[in-house]
Symmetry: C2
């Protein structure tokens, strides 16, 4: 038996606001940050688990404090027992009644639980010598169902229904694993579309995205309609009439204005419109979906938990599910989200970018392909070419696809030097040359 | 001009778990706590503003950290300007894009904003020499509308509609103020109903509640159906056939089981069923409401913001709105919630108890009576006789009614001695004799 001996946190912040990378209608000057956690054991293998919550600057210290509030739940745990029943471990953290009061199951405290859960999955995958997607895809349907907390979900999906979905996908697992390793997983790029970029830069980056083989680009919208029309015109001219361009409003609108604004952009044939309004507004998303059909509504990066995802599907408010690796309660809750998407027949196109979100979330899509949905049709993972150099196993993109990772772990470990260099000490370090 | 010179926080915890006060189906052993904030100025009047977030123990330190993350937004503000336009001050805190990422508008970060906003209201009321309810009820309809952020609400209520609601209630303000000062506001009591109490204690406390003049009691349910049937039988026998008994499940059930369980208790004629499922599940609440009619659904103490309240009303999932003084973004957002209730014609019966929630929320109901809904019909404020002795202006209950407070302020200032005695230093102090 070995024991978890430490849970260490770091407040890591990159000075991205200096370049306006990541600027959108709601977030004009983000400093991409990570509340980073490292879990160590006394096992002879020397493996450690790493994960983080992505934030955009101020408040990253609050997120760190929330992870630290979980330390006493994790330190001292029997490593093998905790990793052998990750469903129980998830419940141990999520069902602490005193901590639950701070949500429940939402916001800072819930994301902290997600980080600890994800660090344990990183540790488990390293100990298994497998990339996380492959570890998950090696579990039996019964083991996978045991990972999910079906509380508040049973009116939409039951454990028995989940078991059937996993069992139905069992036959082709080996073939799909081979295909995934051979061809990777489709990506789309948001690199051209930040609001802070000039028209010339937009045009150039759109052309580069097509040339690089990406099957879709995404543009930020919602700050100014005339600007959106102009920028979409530039993008459409750059990529041609049939190439998919998604748009992302980052929660900018109320319901009525969303419908008007989106319909005013319909001539540019958007592949989807993302976060048209508050991520909390299930009924608002449904009203917008009705008001802009056949344009599709995508959302999820700020959806707080499986309960809101459930309702977005029940209400017809989400045509594309955009899970995020660090917004909900970690891998376990995202498996619940993937199950909901499979049940309702909605494609999953994860949110990524930020700090390490690409590295983390690719494992979930790849697991979904091998062991649940069984298809990449209409699926792709967001990609932003940014900050990958700080990770031990950065994502690799070739011809617009994520190259399937084979290194053991969840992809969420940062380089020790980056952790040290970008640890927040009240101000940004000088921008590295 | 005077300036805000300090924003100080304290982690205050009462060892309530030792007595099982506050035990329910989801919260077996709460330690009632407060992340407490004090805002001081350099004005000659010497007034300070005080408020808090109520939590139930572990994680109170995280809540304190979130309040501290707001310090740099508040310290140095021109006091008169900040208090003169509290709508702008609310937006200053809520629309910080980097902090907003941690919610948005939910959980630890949003409650922290609520505490700071409420402390500023306490300060403003003290400077005006008025209790908060009366200060609010002295504002013009235009001033009241300016306090509310209608973002994400305009599909349910517009600023013009809000103005009409306030204007319609203007004529009777003076009469209702006089009546409120003369008669107070109805209370109901949860004191008999905690799950941890013996049958004998339940019976005794039910009879005492009736004798004390309370117009309603509430019992916790949801841990065990046979126990609920037995306990409701004891309560019904104690209070007689026509006396209202509300029940509170504290989010214990999924949708289907909620409908079955509640209908199994229908013979006891519950006045309402509170929090039957996750507070995030708007559609679930609506399904439950349909499945248990005519029994009413009450919820709100964990509803994260105005956007979820809006949807609960739109979907028909909430027959009674239970606002909480410290769950949402403070007084401003609760005025939005009161407006939504008025628009949809739903009574507001606030959640209280905990630490100082009675002291705080009474002002909102009393303001609502004078300046918005204009009625106490079907309205009452929860009351639990617990921890009031730690407040400078504790609530006073007479014959089952809140005595209308007349002391200046928002009721949210704790005694300095209590703050010192119960500041958390890693363990509970010895229980006071």
């Amino acid at each position: 038996m070995s024991t978890i001996v430490s849970v260490d946190t770091r407040d890591i912040r990159f000075p991205t606001s200096l370049e306006l990378d990541g600027s959108d209608a709601m977030n004009p000057d983000p400093d991409y940050s990570a509340a980073y956690v490292t879990i160590r054991t006394d096992a002879a293998d020397g493996h450690s688990g790493h994960a983080f919550v992505f934030t955009i600057g101020r408040g990253n210290d609050v997120q760190v404090a929330a992870i630290e509030a979980l330390r006493e739940h994790v330190r001292g745990l029997d490593v093998e027992a905790a990793l052998a029943d990750m469903g129980a471990t998830w419940r141990l953290l999520t069902h602490d009644s005193q901590l639950r009061w701070l949500g429940p199951e939402k916001g800072v405290m819930h994301m902290a639980i997600g980080a600890v859960v994800n660090a344990l999955w990183d540790l488990k995958a390293k100990r298994a010598g497998l990339p996380l997607w492959q570890l998950l895809a090696s579990l039996t349907p019964e083991e996978l169902v045991s990972l999910v907390d079906f509380r508040y979900l049973s009116d939409a999906i039951t454990p028995d229904e989940a078991l059937e979905l996993f069992r139905a996908a069992e036959p082709g697992r080996a073939d799909r694993t081979a295909e995934l390793l051979a061809t990777g997983y489709p990506a789309y790029t948001t690199t051209p579309g930040w609001l802070g970029y000039s028209d010339e830069k937009l045009d150039r980056l759109c052309r580069e995205a097509v040339a690089d083989g990406f099957p879709q680009i995404k543009l930020k919208v919602g700050a100014n309609l005339a600007d959106d029309v102009r920028r979409l015109g530039i993008a459409r001219a750059a990529v041609g009439p049939d190439y998919p361009i998604a748009i992302d409003a980052n929660q900018r609108w109320d319901v009525g204005p969303a419908i008007e604004w989106i319909n005013a952009l319909a001539e540019f044939d958007p592949a989807w419109v993302e976060e048209p309004t508050s991520p909390d507004d299930v009924l608002g998303h449904a009203a917008i979906a009705r008001g802009i059909a056949p344009i599709r509504v995508a959302t999820g990066e700020h959806v707080q938990n499986r309960i809101v995802f459930k309702q977005l599907l029940q209400a017809g408010g989400m045509d594309v599910m955009q899970i995020d690796a660090t917004r909900v309660g970690g891998v376990n809750e995202n498996i619940a989200n993937l199950l909901l998407a499979a049940k309702f027949g909605v494609p999953v196109c994860p949110h990524a970018g930020g700090v390490g979100l690409c590295e983390a979330v690719q494992h979930l899509s790849m697991f979904d392909y091998v062991a649940l949905s069984g298809t990449m049709e209409g699926r792709m993972i967001e990609f932003v070419d940014h900050l990958h150099e700080h990770f031990v196993t950065p994502v690799v993109i070739e011809r617009g696809r994520y190259v399937t990772p084979t290194a053991p772990g969840a992809g969420t470990e940062m380089l020790a030097a980056s952790v040290d260099d970008y640890t927040w000490r009240g101000r940004h370090r000088a921008v590295p040359v």
